[in-house]
Symmetry: C2
Subunit: 563 residues, 2 copies
């Protein structure tokens, strides 16, 4: 059995659940006609299925290696990444002025979903490059853009993001890497960075590092951080890789999963860098990169879950214990719930993509606020769901799931990182209840109002499911209004369950829309019932947990926790 | 930081939550006085902390190997297992007539919990031996008992259980291994078995296999299965290991975790075996072994969760991001919930142990029924909780959790198998709603009545928590009564969530008892509030899922699942 990209589901969602049509009606994305979208997704799906997916096990079994200071990629990765680059897939959403396809982010999210299911380790390479492209488009000088963007968009070069240092993880402001002016407009970058994904490889001719560092006069904390482009090879006068820069890969991490993706400790020793985005404005530029990446990390969770689901279903059809185990009620339950959760998370991620596109194309603040609201939800729910679904995938396989050769365990190992990087899911949830509620919950309540209105409209055809969704949205709205009155500590204590509840309500809503599109006795109608009746109700427990606030947690002292 | 066995929690539970006192009042367990229990657990804890735990990482990093047909154990394992054997720990609960300590199963469960936290791979060795001891005590001839029990109880020899074959997993009745009479009272055993834990090793002088096989005239299915003792070396006239039997280890599995525990493919080629428990009565004997093992697999999940919790707490105290992250609300929430879940599962497992002991010592059917009811709950909740808590342990570590050297990921990899072996958690749940409800829910309702009565009594001191627990028990009772009227397919479809709900209600109950014992402003009172207010409420969502039954699942055809 082999991986089959979920082209149909993505197309169905963009046609009926979170319509792409309004995006295609804007001037910016006029090319994204239904025919174009179909052609792009179909072609992308074929590439994922036929070229990328066959490399996935090799990446796990033959991890990347550091040899004489150069990272050797896993077998087949170089050819697969070249095929991706040649198809123009790195630059799907990039500016056509520099060679990009200029397509909506929603399409890119769908493609990243498919690509992650095919090979998560490999997908990380173009994903980081895409984030860098977006950061440069928004914040780099015209000179840097002209030099770097065409090479990044074509996939000739790849990009990385360098934030973390041993003492500076979630607290980025604690970073110590220095940037000293060389007097010629460039800077000398010195410091150590850790957890640098695809920090080096033998698949591209240059690796472009975006590095956060401090100028000599910088204020402490995040206000004193600037961003620098630090290429592995300094481009010569023709824009080709020239002399080697003063940087190196010190070591590779030995990780639970994504063995095909090199996670590097990087050392910069007076490396030459070019500033991106102005003095002390590094965080703003980095956030551009991270916001893009966060949504697409959500897509990673969904893609890997899809691959795990397909594998579990195939096993359940083949494995006979009395009957094929797909006929056993508990196995049927696991599979149906896996499928229902994947659909919910996929719809949320695509809704976020559509909101980003509408925000860009129309400049309307309401769309931008929706995109901002949905980004942490798409990231955290997509990846938490990915962990749950891949774990269930192992369970469906029984004892075989624990044997590495089966491949079910690889999905669970690989996807585990997605809940941690690009801001842990705890950070996502705090972003949701903090920064994303600075409008006193206006954007959240507008979205919940939409859910209630649509649920209202669905009552005649789906009386039970529509009522459930309406009630859930109403509870979510009441909770949100209550939460706005609480202090930040209490909000943070309930942030993770609040985000979970919000995602489940949205998941129920998008399932209801799918059911409405296909009718009462359709497969999508049945799947909606699985989600709304069996998985959505957890929102109430999550809200109960969120409502408890911080007091009860701190009532237990650290000594109590140790006892 | 190093592992510290949870001696205090186990003692507290046996003193105040699921009292061991009535067990110690029986003639059979009169030796289990509070002083004795304290001495045993303290000494056992010291052994786990000082001798066993230091071998845990080595087992992961240096997996067992098959060399020239012999399994080489991981570094330090032989010495650690010898220390265990010399301390008499293998035979804690075994018959004193053959050298056992004859202590209550509850103590053994507590010890297995501590030992699993120290090193799960290693603990599997005595665990399987303990199960075999119990099966032999109940079903073997006096001759076999005299020959094997002293060696197994002393830990000189180890035991295995051989059920699974490639085509026969959950459907044990599909097994094909043959047993042909040799005419001298012995049998020739021929067949292949898979997933045989500690199927061989270099730490003991003999390995005793209990093998399920079919006599030539056997009926198909489980009714035609007999059980045989098939030693690696046939004991000579002095009871010492003599000539090698016709069996071998074909290969070892490459697994997600428990790398220190060899999982063997075994081949029996006319190996000499001795029948245990009568013709075609193999399943009954094997169930004795499995019931013991199931509860202690629950203890495995709890022990590994404990170790993961301790490691995460230590990291959260040391890791500074702004402040030590243990002060961050979301990290505090994760840690408090980990601790609360571990306590709940531990109390359930010990309650099951006490019920087993009371059933044995008093012969009362009500205790035996309670033990039977609690066994699948203790197994499935203990192991599902173990998966959740070790996963959260990785999350608390952030990026470091994904790096194998940290050790947090090992706990998550190791514990994953516990939800699968000794009957998957789906099988446990079906056992609960099927076989364990053949009394029309009488045993379940008696236990829930106890919960309600105790909650009633706790109302004045803990009005909110007591009310929550009472309501939950009442909902559980109503659901149970409703379920008894449903067909088996509907019960099975809701079995897993039903078991989860039952466990959460019991977890709330035992937390309430702990709170009552220590008072309103105690740490245990605060921890009870964390569980009852934040984690127990999921029972309602689980019951909602359980109530949906099978229809909605089968409304989705296999083709729909593939679409």
């Amino acid at each position: 059995m082999s991986y089959r990209s979920p082209v149909n589901d993505i197309r169905f969602i963009l046609d009926h659940v979170v319509p792409l049509a309004p995006v295609a009606e804007t001037e910016m994305f006029a090319e994204a006609t239904p025919d174009m979208v179909e052609a792009i997704l179909t072609e992308g799906g074929r590439l994922c299925d036929e070229v990328i997916a066959p490399t996935n096990r090799d990446g796990d079994l033959t991890p990347t290696k550091l040899e004489n200071g150069v990272v050797r990629s896993a077998p087949g990765f170089k050819e697969a990444l070249q095929a991706l680059a040649e198809g123009g897939w790195v630059g799907i959403a990039a500016d056509p002025e520099y060679g990009g396809m200029g397509l909506p982010q929603a399409i890119n999210v769908g493609f990243n979903d498919m690509l992650s299911g095919a090979n998560l380790s490999l997908q990380l390479n173009p994903l980081l490059t895409q984030g860098q492209i977006e950061a440069l488009e928004h914040h780099a000088s015209d000179e840097l853009k002209a030099l770097y963007l065409p090479k990044l968009i074509s996939g000739e070069w790849s990009g990385t993001m360098n934030l973390t240092e041993p003492q500076a993880g979630s607290d980025v402001g604690a970073l110590r890497t220095k940037a000293e002016p060389n007097g010629d407009g460039t800077y000398a970058i010195t410091g150590q960075k850790i957890f640098i994904t695809w920090g080096d490889s033998d698949v591209v001719s240059n690796v472009c590092h975006l590095v956060l560092a401090r100028l000599p006069d910088a204020a402490p904390g995040t206000k004193g951080i600037s961003l620098f482009m630090v290429p592995k090879f300094i481009p010569d006068e023709n824009g080709n890789p020239g002399v080697a820069n003063s940087l190196k890969v010190v070591s590779l991490e030995h990780k639970l999963g994504i063995h095909g993706s090199p996670t590097c400790v990087m050392s910069y020793e007076g490396a030459t860098g070019w500033m991106v985005g102005g003095e002390h404005k590094g965080m703003a530029a980095m956030f551009t990169m991270m916001n893009n990446a966060r949504l697409n990390v959500g897509a990673q969770g969904i893609g890997v879950a899809e691959a795990a689901y397909q594998k579990a279903l195939e096993y359940a059809k083949d494995r006979v214990q009395f009957t094929p185990i797909v006929e056993h009620a508990d196995v049927r339950r696991m599979l149906a719930e896996m499928k229902a959760e994947i659909f919910a998370a996929r719809a949320i991620a695509l809704a976020c993509g559509v909101a980003i596109d509408m925000g860009r194309a129309t400049g309307k603040e309401s769309w931008q606020a929706r995109a901002a609201l949905l980004t942490p939800i798409a990231k955290a729910y997509g990846t938490d769901m990915g962990i749950r679904v891949t774990n269930t995938g192992v369970q469906v396989h029984g004892g075989m799931g624990y044997i590495e050769e089966t491949g079910a365990a690889q999905f669970a190992r690989d996807v585990r990182i997605t809940a941690i990087y690009e801001g842990t899911n705890g950070i996502q949830a705090m972003d949701l209840v903090g920064r994303k509620m600075m409008d006193d919950g206006a954007a959240a309540c507008r979205l919940l109002q939409e859910v209630e209105d649509e649920a209202q409209a669905a009552r005649s055809e789906f009386p039970v499911l529509a009522e459930d969704v309406w009630q859930a949205a109403e509870a979510m709205r009441e909770h949100t209004e209550w939460m706005i009155g609480q202090g930040m500590q209490d909000r943070f204590a309930g942030a993770v369950p609040y985000l979970d509840a919000f995602a489940r309500v949205l998941g129920g809503y998008y399932h209801l829309r799918a059911a409405m599109a296909e009718g009462r006795n359709s497969a999508r109608g049945h799947l909606a019932a699985v989600y709304i009746r069996r998985l959505m109700p957890i929102y109430a427990a999550s809200l109960a947990e969120a409502k408890e606030g911080a007091e009860g947690l701190y009532a237990l002292s650290v000594e109590d926790l140790e006892a």
